[in-house]
């Protein structure tokens, strides 16, 4: 069946039809053959049985003649008397007379033992040859017609007793079956007739052979050839006759089969011819049919290929039968549906779902298209500055509605835009045609101004604050990628610098790239475990009553590529931007804890303050890390102060507070760094888990010259103390400041006046000196 699957449909149909017709023809042919054979056989049987009947009738007629004659003879009183009185002359004449009457060929009188007494004179020659067995058998079966041969002639004989009144003698009467009679019988029956006894061929209407075996063999050898076969030429049937002699006498009826064959062959030939014609017709029809089926299929296949190539506009109109037409119309429909769906998918792939504006990928693609000539273009990337606020305060639905309203305005605004797109979040991108006069500033300003008009969103009037970064094509670049990036950088800078519009300037891209490079190298350094480029410096923090052991604020330093130092502020910010801060903080903790352990083991129980960020605190594993670190280096949490900026603590108040409270319970101290420059009030601090606040150094640096600063610091210290916080002043650079702070009852100071940040190895000597100077009891 495997090969069938590889045959073309057209050929399959042809094969099916041809096979069916062929099989039908064979079956019909076989049936014809079989029926004809049966009919012929029946006809033959009928012929033969008819012939048999005729033959029997003939022989019976003869027999009845014999009976009549014998009866007449043996009932004749004169004959009886002649026999009884052995009147030979009379017997003789009676036999002659009766024999003549029925034209008998044998007329014999025998005594009781079968010995011939007398016979009709003419047949004298015969009676002597009737052998004793034959006579005995005749005597044993009186009144029975039997056959016997005499001198190669066959006779039908009958014996009747002569009674007077006892049986005194027998008469035997008989007819010879002559060639003429047999010929007549042949004419009547239409069959050849042969008489034979034992193996002796006696009479025949066809050919008489000496031996009957030879005749039989000759019959059997006669063959009629047919195609490659041979079939018998004759049909024969034998009939046994009652024989008087020892050898059986039989008659054979032979029918020539030629007439039957002729008719049979003609029928077969006609059938064969018809079958052939039918097969040819069926094959032609099947080819036509197959073509009518496969042509539309081929067309449909072509259509499917067109669809595969994306040519959905093609369609097919077929007239090839209902099913095929329906299939074709389904195909057409399928093409349309696929096109619709593909359009939808393509739209979704290229557009922002919320606003329906092209997405960033599409923007890039559109830039490619628009960057074809020299036509100058203005590229504007802008973001909604207050989007976070809107989102937080009014909910995501309103925020989304704002975005949609903005997009709608972009589509319908007066200022001609070439196209707009949504890059991400609250960032959009618009390309404006440049003013041929070169006064692009006004174009951008008009554009932004129109966008900044208040929106009506769900009964709310919302005004959006926008930052925009602008690049000019082809002035700032000709590659879409580059231009996108530069516009984005300009937007970043606008946001950083809190500008409404920032025009890209040469080099900003490079600076941006440098930042990226720095982030990358920082990442490498952190991953390499510091790689000797990162190290810690320690700046002492002393209590103003000089009664406590100083604490050290651990400050990180990065000597990039072991050459120049990178500003901690810069790379810490970068680390925060690049989500590297947690790794950096971990590194710092490991380093500082290890250092503290070393110092503690030497007997210097020095505490340290470590800067952490809001990102660190938000990290789910931060707390467990810190605790495990403390355990690992066997440094009690009481030696550690966690410092985080006022900005950070306000960033995500609730979660930060939870985390800080937990750490504080574990024994860590918490300090707020750079206090005073943020927007938080002291009252807001009262619920926070904080031990101390560190006044920003901007208040301290010029404390002596600024009465305002003095007022702020003084009141802050007073308030902080009131709330139970300790106060640390940073940036103490002269004695005057120290004195003032002392007067203001500040608790701790830190600054160049006390000590610059120290390398780790310099900490112990400094500590030792400080303890000695102030007569502190060594820790």
């Amino acid at each position: 069946m495997q090969f069938l699957q590889q045959i073309k449909l057209r050929n399959k149909i042809f094969l099916l039809c041809a096979t069916l017709v062929f099989l039908t023809a064979i079956v019909i042919q076989a049936n014809t053959w079989w029926s004809a054979n049966r009919v012929n056989e029946k006809l033959l049987q009928e012929d033969v049985s008819k012939a048999k009947a005729i033959l029997s009738q003939y022989l019976n007629a003869q027999a009845s003649l014999l009976v009549t004659a014998s009866k007449v003879l043996t009932a004749d009183f004169g004959f009886k008397r002649a026999v009884a009185t052995s009147d030979e002359a009379t017997i003789q004449s009676a036999l002659d007379n009766h024999g003549d009457r029925i034209n008998a060929d044998v007329m014999v009188l025998t005594d009781m033992s079968g010995r011939v007494i007398s016979s009709s004179t003419e047949k004298m020659s015969i009676q002597t040859r009737l052998d004793d067995e034959a006579v005995a058998r005749l005597i044993a079966n009186p009144n029975t017609v039997m056959f016997a041969t005499l001198d190669k002639h066959i006779y039908q004989l009958m014996l009747l007793p002569v009674r007077a009144p006892h049986i005194m003698a027998y008469t035997i009467v008989g007819f010879e079956i002559e060639q003429a009679s047999v010929t007549e019988l042949k004419n009547l029956t239409g069959l050849d007739i042969s008489f034979f006894q034992d193996n002796e061929h006696l009479l025949s209407t066809s050919v008489r052979l000496e031996r009957f075996d030879d005749f039989r063999k000759a019959l059997a050898q006669q063959k009629s050839s047919w195609l490659i076969f041979e079939r018998p030429a004759f049909f024969s049937e034998e009939m046994a006759l009652t024989s008087a002699g020892n050898e059986p006498v039989s008659v054979m009826l032979v029918s020539s089969l030629a007439p039957f064959y002729k008719q049979f062959d003609e029928t077969l030939a006609k059938n064969f011819l018809l079958s052939m014609l039918l097969a040819i017709a069926a094959s032609l029809l099947s080819i036509l049919f197959a073509r009518s089926l496969t042509e539309p299929l081929k067309k449909l296949g072509g259509l499917a290929q067109d669809y595969a190539r994306g040519q959905y506009s093609k369609s097919l109109e077929l007239h090839a039968g209902e099913e095929v037409d329906t299939l074709a119309s389904h195909f057409n429909e399928m093409g349309q549906q696929i096109k619709l769906r593909e359009d939808k998918i393509r739209y979704q792939a290229t557009h922002d779902v919320l606003t329906g504006l092209p997405n960033s990928g599409t923007v890039r693609q559109l830039l490619f298209e628009h960057f074809s000539g020299d036509t100058p273009l203005i590229l504007v990337a802008f973001s909604i500055h207050n989007f976070r606020q809107i989102n937080d305060r009014l909910g995501a639905d309103i925020a989304d509605a704002c975005l949609q309203a903005l997009a709608e305005r972009l589509r319908t605004m007066n200022e001609a835009t070439l196209f707009s797109g949504r890059l991400e979040g609250a960032e959009f991108f618009t390309v404006l045609p440049a003013d041929p006069d070169g006064t692009q500033v006004y174009v951008v300003d008009r554009f932004l101004t129109e966008l900044e008009h208040a929106f009506k969103v769900s009964e709310l009037t919302i005004k959006l604050d926008l930052h925009a970064g602008v690049t000019l094509y082809p002035h700032d670049g000709i590659q879409p990628e580059t231009m996108l990036r530069r516009t984005d950088i300009a937007l970043d800078l606008a946001r950083q610098n809190k500008q409404r519009i920032h025009y890209y300037e040469d080099g900003e891209d490079e600076a941006h790239m440098q930042r990226l490079a720095m982030i990358e190298s920082l990442r490498q350094v952190i991953l390499a475990g510091g790689n000797d480029q990162l190290f810690m410096m320690y700046q002492p923090k002393i209590s103003l009553d000089y009664q406590e052991q100083p604490k050290m604020e651990a400050l990180i330093r990065w000597q990039r590529d072991n050459k120049h130092f990178v500003s901690p502020e810069l790379f810490v910010n970068l680390a925060e931007e690049a989500s590297l801060i947690i790794d950096l903080t971990y590194w710092v903790f490991e380093n500082v804890m290890s250092q503290l352990q070393a110092w503690h083991q030497k007997g210097y129980l020095i505490g340290a303050a470590i800067n952490v960020s809001a990102q660190d605190l938000a990290h789910p594993e931060f707390e467990s890390f810190v605790l495990s670190c403390s355990e690992k280096y066997q440094v009690s949490p009481s030696f550690i102060t966690l410092e985080l900026t006022e900005r950070d603590i306000m960033h995500d108040e609730a979660s930060v507070v939870v985390s800080l409270r937990s750490l504080r319970q574990a024994g860590f101290s918490v300090a707020i760094d750079d206090y005073g420059i943020g927007q938080s009030s002291l009252s807001k601090l009262k619920g926070l888990p904080v031990d101390e606040i560190k006044l920003d150094k901007s208040f301290i640096m010029n404390l002596q010259q600024s009465p305002k600063d003095q007022l702020i610091v003084c009141s802050t210290i007073e308030l902080a103390h009131g709330l139970g916080f300790l106060v640390v002043a940073e940036g103490v650079e002269n004695e005057a400041s120290l004195t003032l702070l002392k007067q203001m009852r500040c608790d701790y100071i830190q600054g160049y006046y006390i000590s610059r940040p120290l390398a780790a190895e310099a900490v112990v000597p400094w500590q030792r000196d400080y303890v000695n100077e102030n007569n502190l009891s060594p820790s």
Partner: protein, 228 residues
């Protein structure tokens, strides 16, 4: 004559019967010959004619005319013993005609188609067996045994017969209609050659043949039988 020995008979009657029986036995002692005839299978053969071979001096024509009637296409009786010289009348009691004939050596005659009684009875002067037939009805056969002795007897159904004779007998003629020797042959037997059984009876065995079916032509057809 048959005696029935009834148990109620009185003692005197019984003794009288036995004395009578004894007397008759004594009388027969001069010559009483008992015969037992069987066929070839040993079965008792009836209707066997046994004739002492002592012929009478002359044929006695004074004897009464015997009768063989023809009733329902049969001779009645079908076997008759007469003495030589005795005549037999053949009346026809049927309402059809008969043609009685005989080709026997003892008497050849023919009574052509007649009804009622023929004009003269037929005289049978010669010793022998006469076989009678009817030319019209082949089934009609009768036998007349023409005897030369008064003591000729016929066996009963038990195959037995007894000859009472005053003088000695040396030979007997024996005939039976179905004997194998032919219906007209009379066999002469020497008594001294015959075996006697324990009861002193002469044992005679006669071979018989079944009489051939007479007459009709049935079964004549069907000579041709099919080979199959």
């Amino acid at each position: 004559m048959l005696f029935i020995l009834h148990p109620s008979l009185s003692g005197t009657m019984r003794s009288a019967f036995f004395s009578l029986l004894l007397l008759s036995t004594f009388n027969a002692s001069a010559e009483q010959l008992q015969f037992m005839v069987t066929d070839e299978t040993g079965k008792p053969l009836s209707d066997v004619v046994i004739e002492p071979d002592r012929p009478m001096a002359t044929a006695d024509e004074s004897r009464p005319v015997a009768v063989i009637d023809q009733v329902n296409k049969r001779f009645v009786p079908e076997q008759l013993i007469i003495n030589a010289g005795q005549s037999v009348d053949f009346p026809n009691s049927d309402n059809i005609r008969h043609h009685v004939y005989s080709f026997s050596e003892a008497k050849t005659f023919e009574l052509k188609l007649y009804a009622d009684t023929p004009e003269h009875p037929i005289n049978f002067p010669r010793h022998g067996v006469v076989v009678l037939g009817c030319n019209i009805h082949d089934t009609m056969i009768a036998y007349i045994y023409v005897s030369e002795s008064d003591q000729t007897v016929m066996t009963d159904e038990t195959g037995q017969a007894t000859i009472q004779s005053q003088s000695a007998i040396s030979h007997v003629n024996v005939w039976h209609k179905h004997q194998a020797r032919g219906p007209e042959t009379i066999q002469s037997l020497d008594l001294t050659q015959l075996q006697r059984d324990t009861s002193g009876r002469f044992s005679i065995r006669i071979e018989t043949v079944e009489p051939a079916p007479t007459g009709s032509f049935e079964d004549t057809f069907g000579a041709v039988s099919s080979a199959d």
